[in-house]
Subunit: 223 residues, 2 copies
DNA sequence: ACGGGCGCTCTTGTATGCAAGATCGTTGAC
DNA sequence: GTCAACGATCTTGCATACAAGAGCGCCCGT
């Protein structure tokens, strides 16, 4: 995936718009006007259009022919679905990793979790987020299945904003830390099934928390 | 996903090129020249470029800035990795489906498998392929998780050419039929874990067969 | 003869121009 | 007053034009 520093403008734009969409700058169903975006980025419509093509395949925008690009925010149901798949994918990563992971990688995982702990102690949600990201990315890599790792990374990235939301919840960081430790322990024991379940629970709980958040603030409507 | 009949040219082109790549019309690493493709499709470079953007996100082509689009055929290792993920994803579909599937859907699955049987008896690999596809698509849908179903569908589509290859193997169709039956039986029993394992085996065996094919004809080289 | 530097050409990336479909307001008929 | 059809306008989709990087070969120096 690393491909040199150079980036086409269309990629930069795609990333920027993706960032905007994920950060909730656009409401669901909002139309992304080509000339407006082009103006905002100081380019012509062409790179903007190419960026839209890419975003449409990521599922972040829907391209309706002759109509334009519309941002497609996942509703609560789709979000839970994505968390479910994420949990399963990460679980598979752990199961596959358990049988082949080496001491170095295990130590790296523990180091990542230690970084999480430091951030948690400082109450720094941002730092925690980054450290947590490192932990999970390494877990994906340790699956030994690069394709799986790529898919997991993709979905992880897609769920980023929602996960970030969770961290604000009281006690979530501490709980997450403990779950990480359980995962590492299972991996160190070489127990794939236990590791898979630990990871599944660790991820699925986020979807569950989200479900509860939604019940208390039912401002979103299901599709 | 259904979005009306209308298709932009860039989508048509993307599909056509994808078809060509999947059917092996291009060697790995071949450069897809924009003007050549534009000429072949009788359009300008613009829609071709938009098609390339889409294909790059599917992983079928690699876009190297200022260099062009290069087809990226998965090597044998990546293929096995994809089959592994496919097996897990379909397994999850089955597990989720087992607890909620209804009689109508079960009967539809059996009908799909019956269609497989007819095709198998006739030795019609193409018809078998279509019927088999119907079986699996329905399985995805019955997971009740639309996001998961979408992801499964995507990967299924990506693996299409390799799966097709397998069907030529002697006895594979009959074996596949039996596996389908086992899946349906587990689902009917509401046994999610058994269904998941049956599906996993059903899919994973294809990767395994492929691995064996590769050992006998080691003309491909691993990345 | 061999290697490095320079420039030519080809290709990509972006901008602009143009045609056709979609949207929306208006107008006319009932 | 309501509804439908029509047209003006706006937007997309595509074609073409232009600029800049990448690749390649040639030439020159050693």
């Amino acid at each position: 995936m690393v491909r040199g520093m150079e980036q086409k403008r269309s990629e930069t734009i795609a990333d920027a718009v993706e960032e905007m969409i994920l950060s909730g700058a656009f409401a669901d169903g909002a139309r992304l006007d080509e000339v407006t975006l082009a103006g905002r980025f100081g380019v012509s419509r062409t790179p903007v259009r190419e960026a839209m093509q890419r975003l449409s395949l990521s599922g972040l925008v829907e391209l309706r022919p002759r109509r334009g690009a519309f941002v497609r925010q996942p509703g609560p149901i789709e979000m839970l679905e994505m968390f479910e798949v994420m949990a399963e994918l990460e679980g598979v990563c752990a199961r596959l990793g358990a049988s082949r992971i080496e001491d170095g990688a295990l130590n790296a995982l523990e180091a990542a979790n230690a970084a999480c702990a430091i951030a948690a102690e400082a109450g720094d949600a941002d730092a925690y987020y980054r450290a947590n990201e490192g932990f999970h990315h390494r877990l994906y890599a340790e699956s030994g299945n690069r394709f799986l790792a790529g898919e997991a990374l993709r979905l992880h990235r897609r769920l980023q904003p929602y996960r970030r939301l969770q961290l604000r919840l009281r006690g979530r960081m501490a709980q997450s830390l403990a779950e990480h430790a359980a995962i590492v322990a299972a991996l160190r024991a070489g127990d794939g099934d236990r590791a898979a379940k630990a990871v599944y629970d660790h991820v699925a709980v986020q979807g569950e928390k989200f479900r509860r958040l939604m019940r208390t603030f039912p401002n979103d409507d299901a599709a």
